[in-house]
C-alpha cells in the first residue's frame, strides 16, 4: 500500500535508469537524511554522538571501502584494519608536518597514501584468487602493524608509541582533538561519509562498477570481452583503499583522539569484514545496516537493563551482550545469507506486491 508503484510511468530512458525508479525510495531516503542532518544533531546527547552516531558512520564507511573490493570486484581482503591505519598515520604526519593544513583536506589526502599502499599489496591479486589472496592481504595486515610499531618517525618518536590528535581548528571552530565539540565532529564525519557514499553509488552503477562486477563474476569471461583485468583489479584496490584510508583517518581524528598500533590489528579487519558480510556484499546500503547491527546494537543492549531498572552487574551485561549479538548474527544469516541489504530488498519487493502475493 505504502509502496504502491501504480501510476509511476517511465516515459524516457533517463527516468528508467534513475537512481530511484520508485518514488517511495527517494521519499524514504529523504526521511533518513532529515534524521541524520537535522533531528539527530538536535536531539542526541554527548553519549549518543560518541558511542552511536559517529562510530556507526565511520565503520559504515570502512565497510563501504571493503565492499568495493570484496563485494563488487570479488577480491577478498583481510587487511582493512592496516589500511585504516595507513590513513590514520598519514593524516597524523600531514597534520604535524603542515600544521596550517585544513583538517578535512588532510583527511581526504591521507586516503591517497592508503590507496598507494593498497595498490602495492593488490599486485598479488593478478596471480592469485580467493582464499589465497586473503592470505596475501593478511601479510599486509601483519607487515603494516609491525611497521606502525617499529618506525618511530610515524609517531614522531613519541615515547609511548601512540599518536595523539592535537587540537585542530577550521575557520575558528575546533573540529578535532579534545577541545572539539561532538556535534561539530559529527557534521564533519557526516559530510565526508555522505560525499563518499554518493561517489560510491555512482561509481558502482556506472561503467567502472560493471567492469568490477564482470571481474567478480568470472574473470576469464571478463578478459574475453575485452576487460583489462590488471586495470580492473588494481583500480578496485586503489578506490577501496582510498575510502578505507579516509575512514581510518576519521576513525582516529574525529572519534578516538588517540591510537596505538595494535588498534589497527586483525580484530579491526574482521570487524569491518563482518559489517560488510552481514550488511550484504555488493551493496552500499548494507554497510550502514551492518554497522548499526555490529557497532550500534551492543551499545544499546548495554543500556537496556539499566533503563528498565534491572539490577544486573556490568560484567554480566557484557557477557549477555556478546551472546545476544552473536545469536542475532547467526539468526540474520540464516534467514538471509546475503545480508541485511538483501533482506530489505525482499521486504521491499513484498511491499510493492502487497496485498497480492503471487
Amino acid at each position: 500500500m505504502i509502496y504502491r508503484t501504480v501510476g509511476q510511468f517511465k516515459t524516457s530512458y533517463a527516468s528508467d535508469q534513475a537512481l530511484f525508479p520508485v518514488r517511495q525510495d527517494a521519499f524514504l531516503l529523504g526521511i533518513i537524511l532529515l534524521f541524520a542532518w537535522v533531528i539527530f544533531p538536535l536531539t542526541a546527547s554527548e553519549f549518543a554522538f560518541q558511542t552511536l552516531l559517529i562510530p556507526i558512520l565511520i565503520y559504515a564507511l570502512a565497510a563501504m571501502g571493503l565492499n568495493i573490493l570484496t563485494g563488487y570486484a570479488g577480491q577478498l581482503s583481510l587487511g582493512t584494519g592496516a589500511f585504516m591505519g595507513v590513513g590514520a598515520y598519514a593524516c597524523y604526519k600531514l597534520i604535524t608536518i603542515f600544521p596550517w593544513m585544513n583538517p578535512v583536506v588532510a583527511i581526504l589526502l591521507s586516503g591517497i597514501f592508503s590507496a598507494g599502499v593498497g595498490v602495492v599489496f593488490g599486485i598479488p591479486s593478478l596471480r592469485i584468487k580467493g582464499f589465497y589472496l586473503a592470505i596475501a592481504t593478511l601479510a599486509a595486515q601483519f607487515f603494516l602493524v609491525w611497521l606502525f610499531e617499529k618506525w618511530s618517525w610515524l609517531y614522531n618518536d613519541n615515547a609511548s608509541g601512540a599518536i595523539q590528535v592535537p587540537n585542530l581548528d577550521m575557520f575558528g571552530v575546533f573540529v578535532a582533538g579534545p577541545q572539539a565539540a561532538s556535534i561539530t565532529q559529527y557534521f564533519v564525519v557526516l559530510a565526508i561519509v555522505s560525499l563518499m557514499t554518493v561517489l560510491c553509488i555512482n561509481l558502482t552503477r556506472g561503467n567502472q562498477g560493471r567492469i568490477w562486477k564482470a571481474t567478480r563474476d568470472m574473470d576469464i569471461a571478463a578478459e574475453l570481452i575485452g576487460i583489462n583485468l590488471m586495470k580492473s583489479k588494481l583500480t578496485a584496490f586503489a578506490v577501496s583503499s582510498y575510502i578505507i584510508g579516509v575512514s581510518g583517518a576519521l576513525f582516529v581524528f574525529m572519534w578516538r583522539g588517540a591510537a596505538e598500533p595494535n588498534l589497527f590489528d586483525i580484530p579491526l579487519s574482521f570487524r569491518v569484514l563482518f559489517i560488510a558480510i552481514i550488511g550484504g556484499l555488493g551493496s552500499i546500503m548494507g554497510n550502514y545496516l551492518g554497522a548499526i547491527l555490529i557497532v550500534g546494537l551492543p551499545v544499546v543492549l548495554n543500556i537496556v537493563p539499566e533503563a528498565i531498572g534491572l539490577d544486573i552487574k556490568s560484567a554480566t551485561v557484557e557477557h549477555l551482550n556478546i551472546m545476544i549479538v552473536g545469536a542475532l548474527i547467526v539468526f540474520f544469516l540464516i534467514i538471509e545469507p546475503h545480508g541485511l541489504a538483501a533482506l530489505w530488498r525482499l521486504v521491499r519487493e513484498k511491499l510493492i506486491l502487497w496485498p497480492f502475493p503471487h
Binding site: E46, F47, Q50, T51, P55, E149, A159, S160, G161, A162, Q164, V165, P166, N167, G177, P178, Q179, R256, G257, A258, E260, N262, L263, D265, V299, N302, I303, K313, S314, A315, V317, E318, H319
Partner: protein
C-alpha cells in the same frame, strides 16, 4: 488541622526522599572482569569494590554520605572504555580508566570535562607534573619511580651495576615502552648495558624467541614490564630455560600471585617491586571481613583476599576515599563535586599515623601529594616469591625523583605543546 499534619509529614518525607537520592557520591570504575586481562583485573576490582562496600556498611559511606560505587565493564577494550567514560561522566566525581589505552583517550579530555583521573600506579609517568596535568593523578608511585627504584636497588647489590647487562623484557605497547627513556638515561649514568627485549601483544603466551635471546645474551638481570598473560608466559618460560629466578625482577603489575602459583616452588626467588603489600592482620581487612564477607556481599574468596592484587585494590580505594574525605572537610560539604575531589587528591597526606588509624599498617608506604606533585612518590618494597606467597624482601626503597625531574618536565612540556591550547597551572611553583 489533621490534613495539615499529613501534608507536612508528606512534605518532610518527600524532602528526605529527595535528599537521600541526592546524598550519594557517584564513583564509577571502568572495570574489566571479562576479556583477556580478566584474571588480573578481578582481584583488583574486588579489592576496590569491597573497600567501598565496607565503608558504606561500617560508617554509612564517607562523612555520612553513601558512596554509589558502580562498575562499568570495559573488557580492557579502549572502545568500550570510551563508551563507559561517556556514560558515567555526567555524575562521576572521578574517572578510574584502568587501561593505558583508555587513559590516553581520557587524559586530553580532562581539562575540558573537568573530572579528575585517578590512575593508581599506572598511566603516563609525566602525570606527576601537577602543573601540566591538573586533572590527572597517579598516586602513590609512577612507572619512572619503579624504574628508578629498581635500578637503585640493583646498583646496591654485589658490586654495583657498572659494566653489567640488564635486559628489559617489556610488552610492546605504550605501557611497556614508557620507562625506556629513563632506563637509557640511567644506563649511561651508571655505566650498565641496557637491552630492551619487546614482547608483541600476539607473542605474550609464547616467549620462546625472547628467552632464547636472553640465554644468548646472558644478562645479569632481567627486569620485566608485563601485564596479563605476558607475566605467566615469562615466568613459566624462565623456569623452563632454568633462568636464575633471583635475577628476575618485575614491576608491580608483574607480581600477581596466580601467575607465580603456576610454577610454585620453581619460581622461588622471583621479585616484584610493589607499593602495596597484603597484610591479612590489618584492621581494614578485619573490617572488610565483618562488614562485607560475613554479610555475603563480597565477590571475592579467602585465597584471593590474601593476595597482592586484592590488597592493592583496597589501597586504591582507600586513596580515593581519603581524597573524598579531605575534600568534604575542606569545603564543609557532604556531596562533593569533581573539582573538590581534585583538591582532595592534590592534598592527600597519608602519614604513618593516618594509615594506622585507617587500619592499613604496612599495606602502603606513607606519602603526600601537592599541587605540583600529583604522584606522591611513596617509594616501594621489593617483594619476593617464596614458593607460596610474596614476602617483603627489602626496606622501603625511594625513587631518585630529582634524577629524572628534567626528563619529566620535558615530557610534560612536550605533551602540553602537542595538545595546545593546553592550560598550565602556573600557581604552583615547587616541582616534585
Amino acid at each position: 488541622m489533621k490534613h495539615w499534619k499529613t501534608l507536612a509529614a508528606a512534605a518532610v518525607v518527600s524532602s528526605f526522599g529527595a535528599a537521600a537520592l541526592a546524598e550519594s557520591i557517584y564513583v564509577p570504575n571502568l572495570s574489566y572482569r571479562t576479556g583477556p586481562f580478566a584474571a588480573t583485573g578481578i582481584p583488583l576490582m574486588n579489592g576496590q569494590r569491597d573497600y567501598f562496600e565496607m565503608l558504606n556498611a561500617r560508617d554509612g559511606g564517607i562523612g555520612g554520605v553513601m558512596i554509589d560505587f558502580e562498575e562499568c565493564e570495559t573488557g580492557y577494550s579502549t572502545e568500550k572504555g570510551v563508551e563507559c567514560y561517556e556514560k558515567t561522566k555526567g555524575n562521576a566525581v572521578v574517572t578510574q580508566p584502568w587501561s593505558t589505552g583508555i587513559t590516553l583517550q581520557v587524559l586530553p579530555k580532562s581539562n575540558v570535562d573537568q573530572i579528575p583521573i585517578l590512575a593508581n600506579g599506572y598511566g603516563f609517568s609525566p602525570m606527576a607534573d601537577g602543573r601540566t596535568f591538573q586533572w590527572a593523578f597517579n598516586a602513590p608511585a609512577g612507572y619512572w619511580d619503579a624504574a628508578s627504584m629498581l635500578i637503585t636497588h640493583l646498583d646496591g647489590l654485589d658490586g654495583g651495576l657498572s659494566g653489567k647487562k640488564v635486559a628489559f623484557l617489556h610488552l610492546d605497547h605504550p605501557y611497556g615502552k614508557e620507562p625506556i627513556p629513563l632506563y637509557e638515561k640511567l644506563a649511561s649514568e651508571k655505566g650498565f648495558e641496557f637491552l630492551p627485549i619487546p614482547v608483541g601483544l600476539k607473542e605474550m603466551q609464547n616467549q620462546s624467541a625472547q628467552w632464547l635471546q636472553i640465554r644468548r645474551e646472558r644478562p645479569d638481570y632481567v627486569v620485566m614490564w608485563g601485564w596479563g598473560a605476558m607475566n605467566a608466559g615469562a615466568i613459566t618460560e624462565a623456569v623452563k630455560t632454568k633462568f636464575d629466578m633471583s635475577k628476575f625482577y618485575g614491576v608491580w603489575w608483574s607480581g600477581h600471585d596466580a601467575d607465580l602459583d603456576l610454577v610454585g616452588a620453581d619460581g622461588a626467588g622471583y621479585k616484584s617491586i610493589s607499593w602495596s603489600f597484603p597484610n591479612p592482620d590489618a584492621g581494614v581487612m578485619a573490617d572488610i571481613k565483618t562488614h562485607v564477607v560475613d554479610t555475603g556481599k563480597t565477590l571475592s574468596n579467602p585465597d584471593e583476599m590474601a593476595g597482592v592484587f586484592y590488597g592493592r585494590g583496597v589501597v586504591m580505594s582507600m586513596i580515593l576515599a581519603e581524597a573524598i574525605a579531605g575534600a568534604q572537610a575542606e569545603f564543609d560539604t557532604g556531596v562533593v563535586t569533581p573539582d573538590q575531589v581534585r583538591w582532595g587528591l592534590e592534598n592527600l597526606n597519608l602519614t604513618e599515623e593516618r594509615l594506622a588509624e585507617l587500619g592499613m599498617e604496612g599495606m602502603v608506604p606513607p606519602f603526600s601529594t601537592s599541587c605540583a606533585d600529583h604522584t606522591g612518590h611513596s617509594g616501594a618494597w621489593i617483594l619476593e616469591w617464596d614458593g607460596e606467597k610474596f614476602a617483603k624482601a627489602s626496606d622501603l626503597l625511594q625513587a631518585d625523583v630529582d634524577g629524572y625531574s628534567e626528563l619529566l618536565a620535558a615530557s610534560a612540556k612536550e605533551y602540553a605543546e602537542a595538545n595546545a591550547p593546553w592550560p598550565v597551572n602556573e600557581s604552583c611553583d615547587a616541582m616534585n
